[in-house]
């Protein structure tokens, strides 16, 4: 079996047979008759059999040619409709978007953005994979990813959509009994609550720009920020957490107050990553535009 025949040649053969003559096919396709004839000969050579009986003014199909025409016709139609579907899929505001985002960021902030997007685009389905770990974006075929921090891989396009500020909090009860706290230097005398993996506190004074860094000797360490907040609420000490937790509705119930408010931990960028600026689908374009607009209105920092 020869396998190196051209799909284009096959389509032209199909078209010629449908039209009944080279001349008619030439009119429809805009391809000269001589070229059509040559392309069909080429196809016959590649297939190793004759498809057409030619005479001076017309042609007829050989048995082999008729069989081939009948078999290939539906397949060509299928190919055509698959390509059309693809086109619709790429340009319509429906279908599935697969997105990955950090767990806490989504619970506290981004979730609302996703829900509003779903309401604005009811035909688009959203598949959300929440993970605080590194996910392989290519292998898992994500359309877009929300990432905290920068990105080195240049094959992805990054769009900065926000910035996380880190602030200190504790309960008034703890602060009343604790040593004074006027400079982060004083934190050495305090009970510190650490939420992994933030094991170094790089701090900047918002007005003066003074920098101070601390490796906290954790009195209590938790791999979950909510639990760290709970510990602080239980008067166990001072903790450094993303300040968007402060704006969460539950926060008010927690009796925590901001301490050392002029000092903030290192800001971390939130980026929306996606690929292929050109071949981007309409639904992903709609999603990106929606997120960027939404972030403008709902900035957490």
């Amino acid at each position: 079996m020869r396998s190196t025949f051209s799909l284009d040649d096959l389509q032209l053969f199909h078209r010629v047979v449908q039209q009944g003559s080279l001349r008619a096919a030439s009119k429809v396709t805009g391809i000269p008759s001589a070229t059509l004839s040559r392309r069909i000969k080429n196809l016959e050579q590649n297939l190793g059999c004759r498809l057409l009986e030619r005479s001076a003014h017309h042609f007829s199909l050989t048995d082999m040619g008729r069989h081939y025409f009948n078999q290939c016709g539906p397949l060509l139609d299928d190919l055509q409709s698959i390509a059309e579907d693809l086109d619709i899929d790429q340009h319509s505001l429906s279908g599935v978007l697969k997105i990955t985002a950090p767990v806490n960021l989504t619970q506290q902030w981004l979730g609302k953005c996703f829900f509003e997007f779903m309401q604005a685009y009811p035909k688009i389905r959203l598949q959300l994979v929440l993970s605080n770990r590194y996910e392989n974006l290519v292998e898992q075929q994500f359309d877009a990813a929300f990432r905290i921090g920068g990105l080195r891989d240049n094959s992805w396009i990054g769009r900065r959509i926000g910035c996380i500020n880190m602030g200190f909090c504790a309960t008034p009860t703890y602060m009343t009994a604790a040593p004074t706290l006027q400079h982060p230097r004083d934190l050495l005398q305090h009970h510190l609550i650490v939420a992994d993996p933030i094991d170094i506190w790089a701090l900047t004074h918002q007005q003066t720009g003074e920098e101070f860094s601390l490796t906290p000797q954790a009195h209590f360490r938790s791999s979950d920020i909510w639990v760290a907040m709970d510990a602080a609420s239980a008067n166990l000490g001072v903790t450094l957490v993303p300040s968007y937790y402060f704006t969460h509705p539950h926060y008010e119930h927690r009796s925590l107050v901001s301490v050392l408010p002029e000092w903030q931990g290192a800001q971390r960028q939130v980026n929306l990553l996606y690929r292929d600026r050109q071949a981007i689908s309409a639904r992903l374009r709609a999603f990106i535009d929606f997120v960027v607009l939404w972030e403008d209105k709902h900035s957490f920092s």
């Binding site: 590194y134 920068g150 891989d153 050495l188 094991d199 490796t215 906290p216």
Partner: protein
């Protein structure tokens, strides 16, 4: 060595040191371990094409306040500045890395601290199998357990020492040194070599080491190795995962393209 911008209290905050400070052995031991466990050995500047600065004020700013890590001249200089501030006597010596297949120059810098007439090898920045606490120079040719690692200071002539680590049942040479006192500026050529030479491992790939109570985590190139209780696990990382890992495992943020 002294730096104008060095503040002992800020240094202690940076390394998470909350014990009392005295010019004695317990302080030396605790300080070295606190710095080793909080300041990563790292060559991000070299990988970014920079010549690493040996100006003491730059070192203090970079490690204490930014807060970054550094390679041997930086982290061991910082340690020396801290010893100076605490009142512990010390001097610097040059060491010859010995894990290469061929003999190499003395490009490593270590600190020898002196307490009550005894001298101790201190090192907070060796990119390979580094000690985890000060080693007394009098305790030569004997196995010394430090956490889950075993070291030996081989010496046959009373002058030349070789630090060895027990790896898979065999003593492996790490570096050799004698006790000729150096100044930091003696390491300027070696620093230039390690920052700029294509033959220097620091120029060739990321090399980041962070020690902790349980073991050490090492990133070399795209290989992430975790050594804990003598067990070693290896992960190969994609370029993007290297970037994420620098942040999550080592608390470092390299210059990003976004």
């Amino acid at each position: 060595m002294k730096a104008d911008n060095f503040n002992l209290q800020d240094y202690c905050a940076r390394i998470g040191y909350t014990e009392t400070l005295n010019a004695d052995l317990p302080t030396l031991q605790a300080l070295m371990r606190a710095q080793l466990f909080s300041v990563p050995f790292e060559n991000l500047d070299v990988q970014a094409g920079k010549l690493v600065s040996l100006e003491l004020a730059d070192i203090v700013k970079k490690i204490v306040y930014n807060p970054r890590g550094g390679y041997c001249y930086e982290v061991n200089s910082l340690f020396a500045i801290a010893l100076d501030a605490v009142g512990i006597d010390y001097y610097l010596v040059g060491a010859r890395p010995m894990f290469y297949p061929t003999r190499r120059a003395r490009t490593h810098m270590v600190v020898i601290a002196k307490i009550n007439g005894e001298e101790y090898l201190c090192d907070t920045g060796f990119g390979s199998f580094g000690i985890r606490a000060p080693l007394a120079l009098s305790a030569v040719n004997q196995s010394i357990q430090q956490d889950d690692d075993v070291f030996r200071l081989a010496c046959s002539d009373g002058k030349n020492f070789t630090l060895q680590a027990l790896t898979k049942g065999e003593w492996v040479n790490q570096y050799g040194f004698d006790l000729y006192p150096h100044e930091l500026l003696d390491f300027i050529p070696a620093n230039y070599f390690n920052s700029k030479s294509p033959d220097a491992v620091f120029v060739q790939q990321f090399l980041v080491v962070k020690h902790d109570e349980l073991g050490r985590t090492i990133l070399s190139g795209n290989r992430l190795r975790r050594v804990e209780k003598g067990e070693s696990t290896l992960t190969e990382l994609s370029p993007e995962a290297i970037f994420t890992t620098l942040k999550t495992e080592f608390g470092l943020t390299p210059e990003s393209s976004v």
